[in-house]
């Protein structure tokens, strides 16, 4: 295997070198999980809401082609212009084309994980367009020249002192000031000027309603609205799986989304866009980029139900202790691990193995994606496609032969215990990864099988 391809295990090991920092990251995200628990336990109907949302999304995936056509027609009736992009490159071309057509060179953007997936910012910048991310967390990672590490909390991996330093360097705040109130106020003023002067605003789409052609954008900060209502052209980038059938289904999804994400009952703003302002434009770009391929995978299509709440990341004990960047993908954590291999199985072969299959993610998923079962199934697919490391393949073959034969198993087991007893140095060394931070188990004098033969007949 290439040594250049980054691997979750290596990145996570590097992350774990600073144990205090890991504790801080882990405890912060666990606290968010606890806030989620408090919020959802206030709704006795919570589990029924999840089941309802899950079934609505199952219906959507089974009727997606119809709903997309319906959505497009209704959006167009509202005066919205609808584009289609088969892949990331086409999406980026469309955005650039819209800006070039109006001679626009500066754009303000609110959070869209789809645009991260498409690497939109880089494409636009290469083509002379300045893009400013207006969500505070995204602005911070933009200044730091890093990708976001979490789909809802982009700079959860950054300490306030580091953010203070970034603001000092790029926005001229006093050195050493790490007060969140002060830093947020600075960002408010700095970005207000951006909102007031940008002719183009790009947002994501949380939900797109087939029945009415409207779409909903949820924020706590109000940045999507500040951009969209002041711009001449509002571009909305939408993964095609964001469709829901009817407006009233928003009642279900808006009750689930923010409670799952942060423990809030709802985001400050849940803005429903139907028609452009008089004389202005709204463009929606419907993007495939591998989604139709995933839709065709029977074992993995349910991953497309995702409403991007991030609850799976907050609950994942591995994510909390390895950080989003260890997944080297726009979407990290458990959901990232079942979406990414569809896009590039070789590059993301490591992700489904970055898990103990504990199942906590599936339990917090508001749309009941069977995440941990998909992780298991991806492992089979990845190995069958030849992406398992050679050493592992060999070890597994030996294991399979040994365990299929009682004789080989008993002999091997006894041998292992003898080695551990009389030659512990054979295993208690730096070549044994178990031994690095754990003692090996004490070898017993006899196995259960041997005891049984002596004591029972």
């Amino acid at each position: 295997m290439e040594t250049e391809v980054k691997d979750h295990a290596d990145l996570a090991a590097a992350f774990n070198k600073d144990e205090d920092r890991v504790n801080w990251h882990d405890e912060t995200l666990w606290w968010i999980r606890q806030k989620r628990d408090l919020a959802v336990n206030k709704l006795p109907e919570w589990e029924l809401l999840r089941e309802t949302a899950s079934q609505i999304k199952d219906n959507v995936l089974s009727n997606l082609s119809e709903y997309l056509v319906q959505f497009e027609a209704n959006a167009q009736k509202n005066g919205v212009i609808v584009h289609w992009a088969a892949d990331a490159a086409e999406h980026n071309r469309i955005v650039l084309g819209l800006l070039n057509a109006k001679g626009i060179q500066k754009m303000v953007k609110s959070k869209s994980m789809l645009t991260e997936e498409c690497h939109l910012n880089e494409h636009l910048e290469r083509n002379g367009i300045e893009v400013i991310d207006s969500d505070l967390g995204e602005r911070i990672v933009q200044l730091a020249k890093e990708p976001p590490s979490h789909i809802v909390l982009p700079c959860i991996h950054k300490k306030k002192e580091e953010i203070g330093d970034l603001f000092h360097l790029h926005l001229g705040t006093p050195a050493g000031n790490a007060d969140p109130q002060f830093l947020t106020e600075t960002a408010r003023i700095h970005l207000r000027e951006t909102f007031l002067t940008r002719r183009a605003a790009l947002t994501g789409v949380n939900f797109a309603i087939a029945e009415t052609g409207e779409f909903v954008v949820c924020t706590n900060e109000g940045n999507a609205d500040m951009g969209a209502h002041l711009a001449e052209i509002h571009i909305a980038s939408m993964g095609m799986e964001k469709i829901i059938p009817q407006r009233r289904h928003l009642g279900v999804f808006l009750r689930l989304l923010t409670r799952s994400a942060t423990g809030q009952p709802i985001t400050t703003y849940s803005s429903h866009f139907s028609k452009p302002r008089e004389g202005k434009e709204i463009h929606i770009i419907i993007v495939d980029n591998g989604r139709s391929k995933q839709l065709g995978r029977e074992d993995f299509r349910n991953s497309l139900k995702c409403i991007r709440c991030g609850a799976c990341m907050n609950t994942c004990p591995v994510y909390r202790r390895s950080g989003g960047h260890s997944y080297h993908n726009a979407i990290s954590g458990p959901i990232g691990a079942i979406l990414a291999p569809n896009l590039d199985m070789e590059k993301f072969a490591d992700l489904p193995f970055a898990s103990t299959l504990c199942g906590s993610c599936s339990n917090v998923c508001p749309v009941k994606i069977d995440i941990h079962q998909q992780l298991y199934k991806w492992r089979q697919v990845i190995v069958q496609n030849g992406y398992a490391p050679v050493a592992k393949k060999a070890a597994m073959k030996v294991m399979s032969l040994t365990l299929s034969s009682p004789l080989a198993y008993h002999a091997g087991g006894k041998m292992g215990r003898l080695v551990m007893k009389y030659a512990p140095f054979a295993l208690n060394n730096k070549f044994n990864p178990w031994y690095k931070q754990r003692d090996m188990p004490e070898p017993p004098k006899e196995s259960f099988g041997e005891w049984y033969n002596k004591n029972r007949k």
């Binding site: 589990e47 592992k392 365990l403 754990r438 188990p441 017993p444």
Partner: protein
Amino acid sequence: MNVGLFIPCYVDQFYPGAAIATLQLLEKLGVTVGYPKNQTCCGQPMANSGFEHLTGGCNELFIKNFEGFDYIVAPSGSCVLHVQEHLHSHDHEQAASTISKRVYELSSFLTDVLKVQSLPSKFPHKVGVHQSCHGQRGLHLSQMSELVAPYYSKPGSLLNMVEGIELIPLNRNDECCGFGGTFCVAEEAVSVKMGKDRVDDHLAHGAEYITGVDMSCLMHMEGILNRRGSKVKVLHLAEILNAE
């Protein structure tokens, strides 16, 4: 009823005490227990590593060993879950299907089949209960903290029958210990960090023993405890329920 005793490979080799306790406990409760001597492994370590296609041999051996029992009982949640979900056979699918419905993890066998109401056990110590993930979220041995649903615990209810025992509270009741099969060496740094955090939670609440339904989790935590020179010991659930 005749019960077949299924002992996970690493319990057989490294923790026979847990297996002996399981056998003795079942016999005390009046169960006739047979132990197929040619059993080896359920195949889970290979399957979870993406090599389910190599488990055919293990599966056939498992079916051969356990065909004909009314119930199959194991002191392990993860092995039982694996058999329930993944035992298949090219030629003996009917037998595989029957077996997968009859296989039980020990505590659920005691509560659901034997309907045990009391135990003649004594264990006057402070004990931390580790909720092994596959048993909890896979076999539903106890309620999961993520769900909005009433609390219950099969292992917990059995432990509460033991005289003198004190079950300690924890900060995180059902966080994974980080063993995860080959994960424990493939992602050593995260695995150990998770194990350390679990151990610290138990230690912070005064545990003298840590118990659970899966020896794999306990083996991982024991490795960490011993490396620290801690006096805290791990014991399989069966060993506490069997203690007198």
